[in-house]
C-alpha cells in the first residue's frame, strides 16, 4: 500500500489551518497558461460585445481613474480618496 498523508477532517480551525500549510506547498500549480481557456472559455464572448463594453466603460471616469492608478501603481490614492474599502492591506 502507498504511504499517504491523510489530512485531518477536524472541525478545529487551527487543525484545518495547519493542514493547509502542510498540504498546499506541493499541491498548487502556479502560472498555469491554460486554465483560463479551458475553464472560462473567454473567447465565447464575441469581439463586438467586448468592444461595446470597452467603449462603454471608457466613458466612465471612475473606471478610467482606476485603470490609470493601477497602471502607475498609485492605488493608494484611489484607496484613500475614492473608494476606501476596496483595497485591503495584509
Amino acid at each position: 500500500m502507498h504511504s499517504i498523508y491523510y489530512p485531518s477532517t477536524s472541525t478545529d480551525v487551527n487543525d484545518a489551518k495547519a493542514d493547509l500549510k502542510i498540504i498546499l506547498a506541493t499541491r498548487v500549480s502556479f502560472n498555469d497558461p491554460n486554465i483560463l481557456d479551458v475553464l472560462i472559455k473567454p473567447d465565447e464572448v464575441s469581439d463586438d460585445l467586448v468592444k461595446n463594453i470597452k467603449d462603454y466603460i471608457s466613458k466612465d471616469q471612475d473606471i478610467l481613474d482606476f485603470l490609470s492608478a493601477v497602471r502607475y501603481q498609485t492605488v493608494e490614492f484611489i484607496e484613500s480618496d475614492m473608494y476606501e474599502p476596496l483595497v485591503r492591506r495584509d
Binding site: 506547498a25 498555469d32 486554465i35 467586448v50 463594453i53 466603460i57 466612465d60 474599502p85 483595497v87 495584509d90
Partner: protein, 445 residues
Amino acid sequence: MLETITSFNEGDSEDDAKTDTKHTHNKEADDEDRDDDHTPSKPISDTNFARCINRTWIDLHNIIPRTDPGLFIPGMPTDYNDLEEDLVIGTKRSPSGSDKGYADGPGPSKARRLSKEQQFARDNTDAPEKRRPDLVLVDRSSQEPQQDWCLWRHFAVLLEVKCDNSDRPNPADGTALTKLAAKLADMARLHLAARPFMRYSVHLTVCGAIFNLAIFDRAGGVVSKDYNINKDLEIFIRIIRRLGRDLDAYDLGLDRTVVPLHALGSREHFPEFRVTVGGFTYVTQGLPLWQSTSLVGRGTSAWVAVLEGDAEESGKGNSKTFILKTAWRVYARLPESTVYKMIYSATNEPTSNLTNLDGVAQFVDGGDIFDPQLPNEMIKVSSHRKGFGKPISEDDDRVLHRLVLSSHGGKLHKFVTFSQLMRAAKKMNSGMFSGFAQHPFLTPL
C-alpha cells in the same frame, strides 16, 4: 466596473443577444415557476436551477457573510451576536417580505466602516469570523427581492483585491506558496464546506494591475499565469462577462451529477438537491448533518434524504428517511460501500462469527459515481482538470463516492437524557465490535 461588465446590455448586438439567451431563458424558467405556484419554496422537479444564471457582485467590506442558521462551519458566523460588538451595527435584517424559513433572518451582518487603523487591526487579527473575500459574485433568486447581503453558499466566485502587484498569488520563484495563495485556499475550504456538492471553488485576484484566475479543489489548486488589467483589459472583460452571465453553476464547480431543486441564490430556503445513487434517486432534506471543512481530503458531507416521490406517496413527514453520505475516496483504498457489503455478506459465512451486526449502519446502496456524459469514467478530481494544471498524483486523484444508509438516529445535541447518550455509546461500541473485531479479514480503516 464588475457590475457594469456583467449587466451590460446596451447596443444589443447580435452576440449580446446570443450570450443573453441562457440568462433570459433562465429568468423565464423562474417566472414560470412563480406562475405555476405562488409558493416559491416548492421545488419544480423539471427545473434545473443549476442552469439558471442570475448573479450580481457584492462588496463584502461592510458585510460579514454568514451561514444558514443551524449550519455550523468553524470560521463562519451563524449569528451576528457572536461577533464583536464594535464591529456590528446592530439590527438584523430579516429577508424582506417573508417569514418563512428564517424567522430570525440569516440577514446581513453589517459592520461599521472602519478607520485605516481599525481596518489594519481587523485584517491582522486571526478571528475566523472576519475571514472573507473582498468582493463576491453571488447567485440571486429572481423570486425574491434583491438584497445587499448574502450567505457563503451564495458565492459563485470569490474575488480578492490587493493594491500591489507584488501581492499576486504567483510566487516570484514559481514554486513557493505565496501568502495570497494560502489565503485563497483557506477561503476555498470554507466555500466548499458552505456551498454544497462543489467540486472546486473559483477565485479571481486583482493585485495592482495583475489579475489571476484560480481554482481550489480536493487535490489542491491551480493559479493562472499573470495578466495585466491594462494590457489585457479585453480578457478581463471576457472573464467577468463569462462568470456573471454565461457560465452556469456546473461550470463554476457544482457536481454535475446533482440537481438543485431550488434557486441556489435563495435567501429564504436552503436548496434541496436531487442525487442519484445506484438505481434510485434521493432528495436531500434541509441542511447537511455534517460537512468537512478541510480543503484537501475526502470532503465528506452527510445529509438526511428521502426517496424522490416518496413524500407525495407517503404524505409529507411520513416518508422514510435515509442518510446520504458523499465523499472523495482514495482510489487505492477499499470503497466504504464495499466494506459494508463485505460485513453484511460475512454474516452468511458460518466461520465469520458475525451473527449480530447491532450498531452497524444498515447499508442500502452506494458506490463510485460515474460521469453521466462519459459513463465508463469514474468522477475523479482530475475530471475537471483536463487540459490545465500539473498532473495530480494517484493518491490525490480521489474518486467521488456515495453511500445510502437506512440507519438514522437523532442528533447528539438533541439528546436530553444521560441514558440516551449511554444507549448511543453502547450501540457505537457494539457496532465496532461486531464489524471489525470478530472478523479476521476486516481491520479498522
